[in-house]
C-alpha cells in the first residue's frame, strides 16, 4: 500500500498537489439493496477537445472542418471505430476495449450551462453545480453526499477527517472528506513553462534568455515557443506515471471493503491552444495517459469494478476548427467519458447537432445538445440513489427542467 488516507499534514505544505479526495461513508439506500456502488469523478482542467477525443467520422463536414488534423478511420494511426458515426482517438485502446465490452459510455455534444469561455468560471460551474459562475464554497459531489444517509463509517474507525486546503471545489462542502496525496508530484507543467516563456519573450527578453538557458529550452524558443515535440517527449513518461499512480491508488482505496466509496481527482494540461497534436503530439500523449489511468482503475478495483462508475468531465470544449497555431481555442460542447462495470455501456449518447457553420454555436463551437447535469444527475440517481428532488434543488440548484438521464446503469 502506497499510503493511507489522512488529514493533510505538514509535508503537504510544499508537496500538496493532485490529490484524491474521498468520502468515508457508505450510501445507505444502495447498501440496503445489496449493492456497494463506487463513483470516481475525474476533472480534466483546461477544456478537453471533445472532437479530437471522439471524432464524428461519419459527419460529412468533419474532414473539411479540421483538414489533415481530423481523426479518420484511415488516418495514421487510424481512429478506433465506436459505431457507424463516431470513432475514438487511437491513443485510447483501453477505453475502446471497455466500450466494446459494454463497460464504457460516451456522451457527446454535452456541456454545463456555462456559455462564456473563461477556464476559472467554467471550472466553477462544472464543479459547483450552480447554473452561473460566482462564489460557491461547495461542490455538487459533496452536496450529493451530504444528502445521503450513511450506513456506517468506513475506514475502520479512523476519524482523521479533513477537508484538504486544496480540495477541488467539486468535493468541498459539508460532508467530511479524506485526502490522499501521491508521493510523486505532478510533473511541472511544460504548458506553464511555455506560457511563461512566451510572456517573457514579449515583455522581458532578459528573463526569457535566462529561462531558456536554465531550462534548456532553446529548442522551443527557436520554434516560437510552439513546437513542443522534443522537450515534451521526455515528460510523457512522467505524466503517464503520475496519472496511473493517482488513479490506481484512488481505485485501491475505493476497492477496499472498509474504504471510501466516492472520490474525485483532477488532471491538468488540456488547454491545447497550440500544437495540439491530437494523433501524435501532446493531446495524444495526455489521452494515452488518461487511458492508462482508466486501465489502472479497472485493474485495482478488481471485483469491485462491476459496481464502479468513473466519470471524466471537463469545463467546456474547444473550437470546432483548428486555429492558426495548429491548436484549438476555448469552445462550448465536448465529451463526457464514462467507464465502469456498473454501466450499461457500449454506446455513444448524442443528439448530434451537426458541424455545418450554421449549426455551430456562435459559428465556431460544437453546439451543446445534452446538459451535462442530466448525465451527472442520472448517475447520482441510479447509482447512488440520490433522491430526485434533492438533485434538482440542492445538488444542482434550479435544475428541475434538466431531467436525470435514464438508462446509464445496468441496474436502474
Amino acid at each position: 500500500m502506497t499510503s493511507d488516507l489522512h488529514a493533510p499534514t505538514r509535508r503537504h505544505l510544499l508537496l500538496a498537489s493532485g490529490t484524491l479526495f474521498a468520502w468515508a461513508y457508505l450510501p445507505k439506500v444502495a447498501r440496503a439493496e445489496g449493492r456497494d456502488p463506487r463513483l470516481l469523478v475525474i476533472v480534466l482542467r483546461g477544456a478537453l477537445d471533445g472532437l479530437a477525443a471522439v471524432a464524428p467520422v461519419g459527419d460529412p463536414d468533419w474532414v473539411a472542418l479540421r483538414g489533415d488534423k481530423a481523426l479518420t478511420l484511415d488516418g495514421k494511426p487510424p481512429a478506433l471505430p465506436l459505431d457507424s458515426f463516431f470513432a475514438l482517438n487511437p491513443a485510447m485502446p483501453n477505453l475502446h476495449r471497455l466500450y466494446k465490452a459494454g463497460a464504457a459510455t460516451i456522451v457527446h455534444a454535452t456541456a454545463t450551462s456555462y456559455r462564456e469561455r473563461s477556464h476559472f468560471d467554467g471550472q466553477d460551474v462544472l464543479e459547483s453545480g450552480l447554473g452561473k459562475p460566482g462564489a460557491s464554497d461547495t461542490g455538487w459531489l459533496n452536496r450529493a453526499l451530504a444528502s445521503l444517509q450513511p450506513a456506517g463509517r468506513a475506514g475502520g474507525g479512523r476519524d482523521a477527517f479533513a477537508v484538504g486546503p486544496i480540495a477541488p471545489l467539486v468535493v468541498r462542502g459539508p460532508a467530511p472528506v479524506l485526502s490522499w496525496t501521491p508521493r510523486r508530484l505532478p510533473p511541472a507543467s511544460d504548458d506553464t513553462l511555455t506560457r511563461l516563456l512566451d510572456l517573457y519573450q514579449h515583455t522581458d527578453p532578459a528573463l526569457a534568455r535566462v529561462l531558456e538557458e536554465r531550462m534548456g529550452l532553446a529548442t522551443i524558443a527557436r520554434a516560437g515557443g510552439m513546437d513542443a515535440e522534443q522537450p515534451r517527449a521526455a515528460g510523457a513518461g512522467q505524466v503517464r506515471a503520475y496519472f496511473a499512480e493517482s488513479a490506481g491508488t484512488a481505485a485501491r482505496f475505493l476497492a477496499r471493503p472498509d474504504g471510501p466509496r466516492i472520490g474525485a481527482l483532477a488532471f491538468d494540461g488540456w488547454d491545447t491552444h497550440a500544437a495540439e497534436g491530437a494523433t501524435n503530439g501532446r493531446l495524444a500523449m495526455l489521452l494515452g495517459a488518461l487511458d492508462g489511468a482508466i486501465a489502472a482503475i479497472e485493474t485495482e478495483m478488481k471485483e469491485a469494478w462491476g459496481e464502479t462508475v468513473v466519470a471524466v468531465v471537463t469545463e467546456f470544449g474547444r473550437t470546432a476548427r483548428i486555429n492558426g497555431t495548429d491548436g484549438t481555442d476555448h469552445g462550448t460542447a465536448t465529451v463526457a467519458l464514462l467507464a465502469g462495470g456498473a454501466l450499461k455501456g457500449g454506446r455513444v449518447v448524442a443528439d448530434w447537432p451537426g458541424l455545418k457553420p450554421a449549426k455551430l454555436h456562435e459559428g465556431r463551437d460544437l453546439k451543446a445538445t445534452t446538459d451535462l447535469r442530466a448525465v451527472l444527475k442520472g448517475l447520482l440517481k441510479d447509482h447512488l440513489r440520490v433522491v430526485g428532488t434533492v438533485l434538482a434543488s440542492k445538488v444542482f440548484p434550479d435544475s428541475a427542467a434538466v431531467k436525470p438521464m435514464a438508462g446509464l446503469l445496468q441496474q436502474a
Binding site: 505538514r10 505544505l13 510544499l14 508537496l15 500538496a16 498537489s17 482542467r45 483546461g46 477544456a47 473563461s118 477556464h119 476559472f120 471550472q123 486546503p165 486544496i166 480540495a167 477541488p168 471545489l169 468541498r172 511541472a188 507543467s189 504548458d191 506553464t192 513553462l193 506560457r195 511563461l196 512566451d198 510572456l199 517573457y200 514579449h202 515583455t203 522581458d204 532578459a206 528573463l207 535566462v210 529561462l211 536554465r214 531550462m215 491538468d268 494540461g269 488540456w270 488547454d271
Partner: protein
C-alpha cells in the same frame, strides 16, 4: 513618465514595501509618498512585540544548558557501551529482562535542538512581521541593514542569537542614528563571534603576554571595508591593525566564568591592547572600552561612510547603477543629520529619481516569497517550507556565505529563476483552489502590469497555473 496614482501606490509597495496585500494599493493611492513617510512616524514600527522571544543573553544560556545536557548524555552512553563491551557478555542479551526501565533511550532524531528552536522561532516572528505589515517600508529597511551588518547562523554559536541580534542591534536603531546602530552591532555577541573578535587578544595585554594567541583583525577590517568607510577608501592596512588593537577586549562573558551572565557583552581589560592608537589620522588614547566607542563614533561621522551606505541604500532600493545625484543627496542628508536614518529614509522616498527609475531590479528571494504570500493572503502554518524556499533560491535566512552579505544587485539572483518557477508552482497549487487569480492580479499587480501579463493570467488553464504565472510575471519579479 508620470504614473497614475494607483500605479504610484503599487510601485511604492513593490519597490519600498513588502508588496501589496488585498486592499493595500487602494489604501495608499491618494498619497503613496505620504503613506511611506507616515509609516516612518508610526509608534513602535519596526519592532517585534513578541514577548516569547529571548534576548540574546538568555538565549545563549538556554542553548548552552541544552548543549551541556547533550554532552552529558553522550558521555553516559559511551560509558555504558564500554561497560557492556568489557563487562559480562551475557548482560547485553539479558537486558530486556534485566533492565526494564533503562534502554538508554536511543535518541536519534529527537527533533530540533534548542539553538534551532530559537532560530526558527525568531524566523517565524520575522516572517510574521513582514506578512502583517501595512506597507513594510520599515521591514525592508530592517532587512537592508540586517544584511549590511550581516552575521551567519552557521558560524559557531551564532544560530541561537542571530534573531535576537537583529532585534537588539538593527530593529532598535533602524530609524535612529547610524552611530548607535553601529555601536550596537559591533559590540553584540553575535558579531563578536561571527567576525572572531571575541577571541582577539592584544599582544601586549596581560593575557597576550602569557599565551601565544594574539590579534585577530577580522572584525576591524570588515567594519572599515564593509560596515562604514567602504573598500579602497581612506584607510590603510596600518589603520586596520591599529583599529583591531583598539577593539581587543571586546568579547562576551564565558559561561564558566559567570553562568548567570554568560553570553553578555563585556570589555575584558586583560585582553585589551594597552596604549594610544592612531586610526585614520587621529590618535585615540587608551580609555579602555571607550577607545573603541570613540573610533566607531568617528567612523559613523566620516563622509566616506555617508557615501558608502548611501550608495548601498540606493543600489538596494532603486537601481543597480545608483544615480550619483541621488546618492549625493542622501550622503549630504546623512552628514547634516549626524546619521539620522529616518531622515535618510525620508530623503530616499521623496526623491524624484526614486520614483522615476525603471522597474528593472529583480526582487531578492525573500522579498519575492513574502510578496507572493501577501498577494494571496496566505500565512503558512509552519515556516519549514518558507525556510526551504529561501534556501533553494539562494538566500537562506541569516546565513549569508560571507560577511559582505547577500548581493544587492539583480544579476546574481537571475540564476534562481527556474527554482522560482518551482516554488511558484508549489505555492499556486497550495492556494490555487481558493484564491481567484483575477482578484489577486487586480489587488497586487494590475496598475503596473502589461496587457500581455494580464492576458497570460486571465487565459491560464487553471487557477493554480494563473497564480504561478502571476508570481513569475516580470512585473511581480521586478521593482
Amino acid at each position: 513618465m508620470a504614473l497614475d496614482p494607483k500605479a504610484q501606490a503599487a510601485l511604492a509597495l513593490h519597490r519600498f514595501g513588502v508588496s501589496p496585500r488585498p486592499g493595500s494599493i487602494a489604501a495608499i493611492a491618494s498619497d503613496p509618498r505620504g503613506a511611506l513617510l507616515a509609516e516612518l512616524d508610526r509608534a513602535g514600527v519596526g519592532r517585534i512585540p513578541d514577548t516569547d522571544l529571548l534576548p540574546s543573553g538568555p538565549a545563549w544560556r538556554a542553548a548552552f544548558a541544552y548543549q551541556e545536557a547533550q554532552r552529558a548524555a553522550r558521555r553516559a552512553e559511551r560509558a555504558m557501551q564500554q561497560a557492556n563491551a568489557q563487562g559480562t557478555g551475557a548482560s547485553s542479551e539479558m537486558k530486556p529482562a534485566d533492565q526494564p526501565a533503562a534502554p538508554a533511550a536511543p535518541r536519534r532524531n529527537p527533533g530540533p535542538g534548542v539553538p534551532q528552536q530559537i532560530y526558527l522561532g525568531e524566523a517565524k516572528a520575522r516572517f510574521n512581521a513582514a506578512l502583517g505589515a501595512e506597507i513594510g517600508f520599515v521591514e525592508r529597511l530592517v532587512w537592508f541593514w540586517s544584511n549590511h551588518f550581516c552575521v551567519s547562523a552557521d558560524k559557531g554559536n551564532v544560530r541561537q542569537i542571530c534573531g535576537a541580534y537583529e532585534r537588539e542591534a538593527i530593529r532598535a536603531h533602524v530609524l535612529g542614528r547610524f552611530g548607535d546602530m553601529l555601536l550596537a552591532v559591533e559590540s553584540h555577541p553575535a558579531m563578536l563571534i561571527y567576525l572572531d573578535n571575541a577571541r582577539s587578544i592584544g599582544p601586549d595585554s596581560l593575557a597576550g603576554l602569557r599565551q601565544k594567541r594574539g590579534l585577530n583583525e577580522n572584525l576591524a577590517r570588515e567594519i572599515l571595508e564593509l560596515h562604514t568607510l567602504g573598500v579602497r577608501s581612506v584607510y590603510t592596512q596600518e589603520d586596520v591593525t591599529r583599529f583591531a588593537n583598539v577593539i581587543t577586549g571586546w568579547t562576551l562573558v564565558g559561561m564558566r566564568q559567570d553562568p548567570a551572565r554568560g553570553g553578555e557583552f563585556e570589555f575584558n581589560p586583560r585582553t585589551h591592547q594597552p596604549g594610544a592608537q592612531v586610526v585614520i589620522g587621529k590618535s585615540y588614547p587608551d580609555t579602555g572600552a571607550e577607545q573603541g566607542r570613540a573610533v566607531l563614533a568617528a567612523l559613523a561621522r566620516h563622509p566616506a561612510t555617508a557615501k558608502h551606505v548611501s550608495t548601498k541604500l540606493v543600489r538596494h532600493f532603486i537601481a543597480d547603477e545608483p544615480p550619483p545625484a541621488l546618492v549625493e543627496r542622501l550622503a549630504k542628508r546623512f552628514l547634516a543629520t549626524q546619521g539620522d536614518l529616518k531622515e535618510v529614509a525620508k530623503t530616499l522616498v521623496t526623491a524624484p529619481e526614486a520614483w522615476e527609475a525603471p522597474r528593472a531590479k529583480l526582487k531578492r528571494p525573500g522579498e519575492w516569497i513574502v510578496g507572493a504570500l501577501r498577494a494571496v493572503g496566505y500565512t503558512p502554518p509552519d515556516i519549514g517550507p518558507m525556510m526551504q524556499a529561501h534556501h533553494l533560491l539562494g538566500e537562506p535566512l541569516w546565513r549569508p556565505s560571507a560577511p559582505k552579505g547577500f548581493a544587492d544587485e539583480s544579476a546574481p539572483w537571475l540564476d534562481g529563476l527556474a527554482q522560482r518557477l518551482d516554488i511558484a508552482n508549489q505555492l499556486a497549487r497550495r492556494v490555487g483552489g481558493e484564491a481567484d487569480p483575477r482578484e489577486v492580479f487586480e489587488e497586487a499587480l494590475a496598475p503596473l502590469a502589461s496587457t500581455e501579463t494580464r492576458q497570460a493570467i486571465t487565459r491560464a488553464e487553471s487557477r493554480p497555473q494563473a497564480l504561478a504565472l502571476l508570481f513569475m510575471a516580470p512585473e511581480f519579479q521586478r521593482r
